[in-house]
Symmetry: C2
Subunit: 264 residues, 2 copies
Amino acid sequence: MLNDSEKNKRRIALVGAGNVATSLALALQNAGETIVAVWSRSNESAMLLGKRLECSFTTEVELLPDADIVIITVTDTALPAVARDVAKHYPKALVVHTAGSIPMSLLYESGFKYYGVFYPMQTFSKARIVDFSTVSLFVEACNKEALEMLKSLAGKLTDKVYSVTSEQRRYLHLAAVFACNFVNASYSMAAELLEQNGLPFDAMLPLIDETARKVHNLQPRDAQTGPAQRGDNTVMSQQRELLDEDFRRVYDIMSEYIQKNRHI
Amino acid sequence: MLNDSEKNKRRIALVGAGNVATSLALALQNAGETIVAVWSRSNESAMLLGKRLECSFTTEVELLPDADIVIITVTDTALPAVARDVAKHYPKALVVHTAGSIPMSLLYESGFKYYGVFYPMQTFSKARIVDFSTVSLFVEACNKEALEMLKSLAGKLTDKVYSVTSEQRRYLHLAAVFACNFVNASYSMAAELLEQNGLPFDAMLPLIDETARKVHNLQPRDAQTGPAQRGDNTVMSQQRELLDEDFRRVYDIMSEYIQKNRHI
């Protein structure tokens, strides 16, 4: 016989087995939640994550076991088709997606009655498991009960839980592209410049860390430094000369932004 | 009478009283070094830092007291003229500048016989004192004795001390512009997008921190995530629609770099 806490346990199914699913599933298990199964279009991905979580795995949505919450983490492109399949199989579960730029209404249109969004704003790579206590989680739901359920689930992973609309979430995702993806691209350009000159990228890490730490206490605008901020045209024109055409375009466009926005 | 350790103490004079001078001087004092005086063109800056360091301060180079090491931290633009004044006053001291993009030869041309470079690669703001133990310091000198002296001074502040040529230092500075100044500009754009939509920049900090942490273990190229990396053209064209012309140029140019460099 099941005891009360076992009876009350939420059963969670994961649809998708990529970077987000991996970190999220491990965090949920660590928080005491029960993952009952993993689905992926790819048998290898399903098996890898299923084995890691010690739960069942499948490539057939129809073979997924009963669940109270279904978390869909597939790519934005795959989401509409996958959501329709999931809706047929799970008419009663609370179903959420984790995408930054997909409106919640897609789930309604896919045939769900009970749905929401569970958007962890973080950069996920399989090579690195994310500590969810440091993640901001943005939730949205079709009704108050679902919202409370998602807030309670999110609250087990992090204390940074925010309730936002689909429209706000689009801007969050867009801001994340600037603050994470374009930031990493800038790191990457720095790494290329150093490598071409026999210099170690590691020497850059203290600077990278301090640049991130600074905006915990200062507005980014007030934290800005460098030749463009100082209006040092001599250094800027010398630096442009060191760059190839692609990097020079980045240099010019970023310097222009900094100069337009600097405090005089 | 002076005891041996007092007699052997290096006397350091600071020429410049800006962001670099402030953090560097406090770190040197903490490491047990003696700052004898501060010069700045601005009386207010000289006084502020002089009082903070409890040392003398002046706006006249000729009034600076005897020193064994002179550290010039003025802006690149001011450096040539200031260096000529300092050379007349300190013909025997070891004189260094702290600039990323100025070749060491400028000091020779300014009339120094004994000179070098002491380049801390970090982002300095007066509002925030930098912990020098986390800074990479790049040194260069006119001869072996001067190089050893600078390495010993640098080694009291951090264990990340590198000996580099002027040419390498130009690329270090350029890489720092990408990894720090352009990174901060991206944070700033994210902050603008959030502010326009009533969203808190603080929600971004976990993402910013993780993005920086990731490149401690992964090459930036391998750490890249986001719509451009995934080749998700739907999200990319939706995101472009949310941006004004200036931000869209940044979006396009950074996305193009990411797409050119992604692992397929």
